[in-house]
Amino acid sequence: MPTKIEKDSVSGQMTTGHEWDGLKELNTPLPTWWLYTWYVCIAFSLVWVVLYPALPITGATGLLGWTARGALPAQQAAERTRIEPMLARLRAATPEQIAADPELRGFALAGGRVAFANNCAGCHGAGGQGAVGGFPSLADDDWIYGGSFEAIQHTIRHGVRANESDEQRGIAMPAFQTTGMLNPNQVSDTAEFVLSLTGRSTDAAAVTRGEALYTENCASCHSDRGEGNRDLGAPRLNDRIWLYGGDKAAVMRSIAYSRAGVMPSWQGRLDPAMINMLTVYVHAMGGGE
């Protein structure tokens, strides 16, 4: 209830003119220094709003035209200039030469780790462990296209089935059931033979039938005993590593409908120095040949 603003008889202070059940509120102003600091902050924020992007409106960048995104390229350029001498050395050297030079190797492993996390880990996993379903592990000792420095560099540059150039990796595996080359029973028999290569088949008769089918349809790429062929990108079938799963159902799916994973070509998207760093980093993951 508003009342008269008056002088309080006890404390000698003015009241605010507010009264509740007979209790009047004393007017106790903020300390002057506090108040003026506050005023200065308000004045500062007004200037700030005019000069800098402060309003949640698209295009409201303030008079100075400064944006965090706009400031980024200059910082990136400065950083790139700083590491350019090292990048130039990395660009000029081959991955083998980089790996042999402790200084370059240290830089490449650190830079490669970041580049891998930015560009590769999405499919190949943070530590290059890959994932079942067509994402090969880069840390194991099984390579579809080869694990030498040169092979890794080539794969990164040109990708797999990326429609980039003739240099790219990968040819298409036929979908044997879709195209009518094998009927479902034959697919099952072929799969049974493939399982027998790692001693996992349960049906000897099917293996015998499947062997003939395998020799006729698969051996030209995957070799007679499933040794695979890196030139064609035909994976080994006689080891414990299965890109799309190693149980019979998964193998049958592969035969019936084919598999054709795609990896982008990184040449032109990444600096050659970065590709070299990635090559050295991937080679050092454990499976490098």
Binding site: G22, S137, D140, R240, I241, M285
Partner: protein, 493 residues
């Protein structure tokens, strides 16, 4: 609606603020003063000279004996070198210092405050300069009360320039404990030092100038916490600066036969750096410097009376003398009686024994920690992204990051062996091999070196889940000098 007005509080709060009374301490000479000069020269000498001491640690290491190398995260103290993770040794030194301070205080009172505290030492130095330029107590009072003429201006200017010079030397010496002394001095003189260096130089110059020049006894009385709780360490057996009132009272003229030995000349008051009267008894403001002892002894000698009217004395003896001489008339008999009942200071008492015990325990703990300090530590970090890698032949591989911290100077080449199920193979990338084909870890000089190790388990082992393994580092004779356990991970089934 009737309202009963509250009664106004009847407390007179008054003001808690005391206006500073400038203290004009008079020069004094005597035993205590000589000891204080000696301590001052020793401590200031140490402070200014220590950064210039050299200590050869071989190549790639600073040759400064005492250096806190913030940039390289190392602390050098002659033959000792601390890494950041060993900063607890520094904490330990501070703990020892604190307990030592308690012990000394319980025995001899505020000797730290009166003789060795930097505030006391630098204030003493600043006062000495003040006396050289403006004259002694009476001259300074006269100068301050007189007109601000050319004499005043010249004296003040000379004094402050001299103070600033000392303050700058103090701030400059502080910087040298954190940088190579000769090069940072040259950099500062030629304007090439970093802003940090100049900033800290300015900070410590300013604090020295303000604390020793202007604040002085106010630091001890108002800023420092130590006087507030040092009373807890003192008891009736501690040595404190006291006025023997049983002998001095009643005060009177030297010619008055009924008066005590105190002639009320106020010499003790005039020399006091904190401006108090020791005859008022034990006071918070008293820093125990004992200059009043010298001042009073001087007066007593001139009056041909025995010295020691103001003295370092225990409160127990003071009470004993007081009791023994109660009701006696002033004179030689009173003095003899009073001095006769004094007993030697009791040094061994529960309080001092506890302090000594705690101090001894802390020293033992520190010593043990130092002797058992590992100069070589191996850290094994198993890979997290891909806990294990399936190999083509059915085998498994685990990746580990090895970090070897070598806290000593000089390189070490140590073979690494793996302990675990028979058949595990160890490969360390970037490491050489010794004659037996074991990976050879070559550490850096005083630093951490990192390797990536790959451990492979052949298919035949069929390792499932977590299998304990141990990395062992051997010395040249094949003895194990470090072992670090870890786990080899495989699929659950």
């Amino acid at each position: 609606m009737s309202v009963i007005p509250p009664r106004a509080p009847q407390i007179d709060e008054g003001s808690l603020y005391a206006t500073h009374q400038k203290v004009y301490p008079r020069a004094v000479s005597g035993t205590v003063r000589r000891v204080k000069w000696a301590v001052l020269v020793l401590l200031l000498g140490l402070y200014y000279i220590v950064p210039w001491l050299r200590w050869d640690r071989g190549p790639n290491a600073p040759d400064q004996a005492v250096l806190v190398d913030i940039g390289n995260a190392r602390l050098f103290f002659f033959g000792f070198e601390l890494w950041p993770q060993e900063i607890y040794f520094l904490t330990g030194i501070l703990v020892l210092g604190a307990i030592g301070l308690f012990a000394v205080t319980s025995l001899f009172g505020r000797v730290w405050c009166g003789f060795t505290c930097p505030q006391t030492v630098w204030t003493d130095l600043f006062m000495w300069i003040e006396r050289r330029i403006e004259g002694d107590r009476n001259a300074r009072i006269k100068l301050d009360q007189g007109p601000k003429d050319s004499v005043w201006w010249r004296a003040k200017l000379r004094k402050h320039v001299a103070w600033l010079a000392i303050a700058m030397a103090t701030g400059g010496a502080w910087i040298m404990y954190f940088n190579d002394a000769p090069s940072v001095t040259w950099a500062m003189l030629t304007g090439q030092a970093s802003l940090t260096v100049y900033g800290f130089f300015a900070l410590f110059t300013a604090t020295t100038y303000v604390l020793a020049g202007a604040a002085r006894e106010q630091v001890c009385t108002y800023m420092c916490p130590w006087p507030r709780f040092q009373g807890a360490m003192l008891d009736e057996n501690s040595l404190v600066v006291t006025y023997r009132d049983w002998r001095g009272e009643p005060r009177g003229k030297p010619t008055d036969p009924t008066a005590g030995d105190c002639v009320d000349c106020k010499a003790c008051v005039h020399v006091c750096p904190t401006g108090i009267d020791i005859r008022d008894g034990q006071q918070l403001e008293c820093i125990g410097c004992g200059l009043c002892v010298d001042a009073c002894d001087d007066v007593m000698k001139r009056l041909d009376r025995p010295t020691g009217l103001v003295a370092f004395e225990t409160l127990k003896n003071l009470a004993a003398s007081e009791a023994a001489t109660k009701g006696m008339a002033p004179g030689p008999q009173l003095l003899a009686k009073g001095m006769a009942v004094r007993t030697p200071q009791k040094l061994l008492r529960p309080r001092t024994l506890v302090y000594a015990g705690v101090l001894g325990a802390a020293v033992l703990v520190m010593l043990g920690a130092w002797l058992m300090r590992a100069t070589l530590t191996l850290t094994v970090l198993p890979d997290r992204a891909s806990l294990y890698v399936q190999l083509a032949d059915g085998g498994l591989r685990n990746g580990f990051t090895l970090k070897l911290a070598n806290k000593l100077r000089g390189e070490l080449a140590l073979p690494l062996v793996l302990e675990g199920p028979q058949g595990l193979r160890l490969l360390v990338q970037d490491a050489g091999l010794d004659a037996q084909g074991r990976p050879l870890l070559t550490t850096r000089d005083d630093g951490i070196t990192q390797w990536r190790a790959l451990v492979t388990a052949p298919e035949g082992l069929r390792l499932r889940g977590a299998t304990p393994i141990t990395f062992r580092l051997l010395d040249a004779e094949g003895r194990t000098i470090l072992r670090q356990s870890s786990v080899f991970l495989g699929p659950d089934r």
